[in-house]
């Protein structure tokens, strides 16, 4: 059957084969790239598991780091120190970050909200070692290292993450709900507290958890601000505290093979904590999106 003159336009005019080849090539390349990203995570988690699992024990988790020259010991002091510093940072950064987000999404006019958003993005891009040096000059120079100084630096790292994710989530709350509240004669700040925040609660929690996960492994500022500490479990933020990232750093610098295994085990604890936080955060976010009808 001969194609009619009209249908002749639909036929291949020479480069169809080439276009198909290019299409297949691009498709394959992007698939490989995606697999690579997954593979990197699997390799990192896998090698940490392989090398760290052997040294992991209840004893390791409940014993403070051994003194120099002694063997055994664990990371209980590092776990406690990390919890205190990350906890203090969260207490500082989460309320401020939420308030910044509420201000920019609910109250500020666009010409103020946009620059604030930009500033937060820039702050988010500041290398953490620079944040560390800044806090060093502010709190440590002429004074001493402290867990508090470290938590201030971690809070500065957290702040833009909390604020930006909260902004995104708050802007997902349907405008019709805010309208309904305003039309009922509910004052704007009350509408925010009673309607907008509860509706967005899951997503706000997600942002906070991701920020905690992000700073739990933060190392650079801690080297400057809280790395020379007394042995044993310390809980006083006025003095330098141990932390898991610093333990990993110092143990991996040590010549002893036992210390290396301990570094891997501590890395396993840290990575497991971050993974769990990420998974929990995603679950909250999924629930929150459902509620907002997104």
């Amino acid at each position: 059957m001969n194609p009619s003159a009209d249908h002749a336009l639909l036929l291949d005019r020479g480069n169809l084969k080439r276009r198909r080849r290019v299409s297949a090539l691009v498709g394959a390349a992007s698939t490989v790239a995606a697999l690579l990203a997954v593979a990197v995570l699997l390799i990192v988690v896998g090698s940490v598991l392989l090398k760290g699992l052997g040294a992991l024990s209840i004893h390791f988790l409940t014993t403070p780091t051994a003194l120099f020259g002694e063997s055994g010991g664990g990371i209980s002091n590092a776990i406690v120190g990390s919890a205190i510093m990350v906890g203090l940072a969260a207490l500082m950064a989460i309320p401020v970050g939420l308030l910044v987000a509420i201000y920019t999404t609910e109250f500020a006019p666009a010409r103020i909200a946009h620059p604030i958003r930009f500033v937060l993005d820039v702050l988010n891009g500041v290398p953490t070692i620079i944040t560390g040096i800044f806090v060093y000059g502010l709190l440590v120079a002429g004074n001493q290292q402290s867990g508090f100084a470290a938590s201030v630096a971690l809070a500065i790292v957290m702040l833009p993450i909390v604020a930006r994710t909260a902004q995104e989530v708050l802007s997902l709350v349907p405008a019709t709900l805010k309208e309904a509240a305003h039309a009922l004669g509910i004052a704007p700040w009350r509408a925010t507290v009673r309607v907008t925040l509860p509706t967005a609660a899951g997503g706000l929690l997600t942002g906070a958890l991701l920020a905690v996960a992000r700073v739990a492994g933060e190392t650079a500022p801690l080297i400057l601000l809280s790395s020379i500490f007394a042995p044993g479990v310390l809980t006083e933020p006025g003095e330098a505290l141990a932390s898991i990232p610093i333990f990993i750093f110092q143990a991996s610098e040590s010549p002893s093979p036992e210390a290396h295994t301990q570094a891997w085990a501590a890395a396993l604890i840290l990575i497991a904590f971050v993974l769990v936080l990420n998974i929990v955060a995603r679950a909250f976010y999924a629930r929150s999106r459902k509620r907002m009808g997104a």
């Binding site: 006019p109 666009a110 349907p174 019709t176 709900l177 309208e179 309904a180 509240a181 305003h182 039309a183 009922l184 004669g185 509910i186 004052a187 009350r190 009673r194 309607v195 509860p198 509706t199 609660a201 509620r291 907002m292 009808g293």
Partner: protein, 300 residues
């Protein structure tokens, strides 16, 4: 062409010869004639009211440089249903949103002219905007119950923030649900989430929520456009009951609906008031050619 401005007739302008001295009088607390607190829940229809008269005088509304409402003067009488009809974008919703000052919530939006509620200019600088919205309730196009709140919490959301005691809160919530014709359907699941109700029930929940704060005027912006015919019928029956109690202004795209529920109908075009009159006259024998063309389906 005869564009009628009812406000220019002496009978309407003399309705409120002496504006009250205190602009807040009648706000915040239900006035004596609108109060339903303390009365049996099923009798709100018994009220005869003198409050809830809304009057627009030379109202202009803008979105930036877009002049959406052009010099509208109009009166909405108490205890009546007035329908606003007109093609999309003719300024119906904008005009209505000027009555409870929701228009100005939109960035770049502003308005000029006067909106009088029982003789008080709602745009007077001494007026509390929150009080305006308590006196002039609003129901939106899409049902929008608060997703984190139960049925009863939704209804009492506007009340809870005014220091009403817990016991009274429940009574007034129940009253509002009865008033919105929803009580029988939800009395067994007051604590269930409000968003779990059907679309029509959600819209009546939103009406109950608006009624709970005891408004004098209820603005309805296409309240049935997201509902099926049966749910629409329920809302229309409800409007007929509620008109004893509140002045109702309903924006609608549905001319049959206007004919069914409204005593007075207003036709708007390109931001201007074209014609206002008794609904049957406007639909059968309008004074303006454009009204006739619109109601007979020649455009819009």
């Amino acid at each position: 062409m005869d564009i009628r401005h009812p406000i220019e007739s002496p009978t309407v302008t003399e309705q409120n010869p002496e504006p009250q001295a205190d602009p807040r009088a009648g706000f915040g607390h239900p006035g004596p004639t609108v109060s339903v607190a303390g009365e049996p829940a099923v009798t709100p229809a018994q009220h005869s009211r003198q409050v809830g008269n809304v009057e627009l005088r030379g109202l202009d509304a803008y979105y930036g440089s877009n002049h959406a409402v052009r010099g509208v003067s109009l009166a909405f009488d108490s205890a009546k249903v007035t329908a606003i009809i007109g093609p999309s974008g003719c300024g119906k919703s904008t005009m209505v949103r000027c009555i409870n000052r929701m228009h100005e919530e939109i960035a770049g939006a502003r308005s000029e002219g006067q909106v009088l509620l029982d003789g008080l200019d709602l745009y007077d600088s001494r007026i509390d905007i929150v009080a305006v919205r308590r006196s002039v309730g609003m129901v939106f196009q899409k049902p929008n119950p608060f997703p984190t709140m139960s049925v009863i919490d939704n209804v009492t959301a506007g009340l809870r923030l005014t220091g009403v005691s817990r016991g009274e809160l429940e009574d007034r919530g129940r009253e509002a649900l009865v008033g919105a014709g929803l009580w029988e359907e939800v009395k067994g699941r007051l604590k269930a989430p409000g968003v779990g109700l059907s679309g029509g029930q959600q819209q009546r929940l939103c009406i109950a929520r608006a009624l709970a704060v005891d408004p004098e005027v209820l603005l309805m912006d296409e309240p049935c456009s997201a509902l099926d015919p049966v749910a629409t019928l329920r809302i229309e029956e409800l409007i007929a009951e509620l008109k004893q109690r509140v002045t109702i202004v309903i924006v609608t795209h549905n001319m049959q609906q206007a004919a069914r529920v409204a005593g007075t109908t207003v036709f708007m075009l390109n931001g201007e008031l074209v014609e206002v009159g008794p609904t049957d006259k406007l639909f059968t024998n309008p004074d303006d050619d454009r009204t006739e063309q619109y109601v007979t389906g020649k455009f819009g």
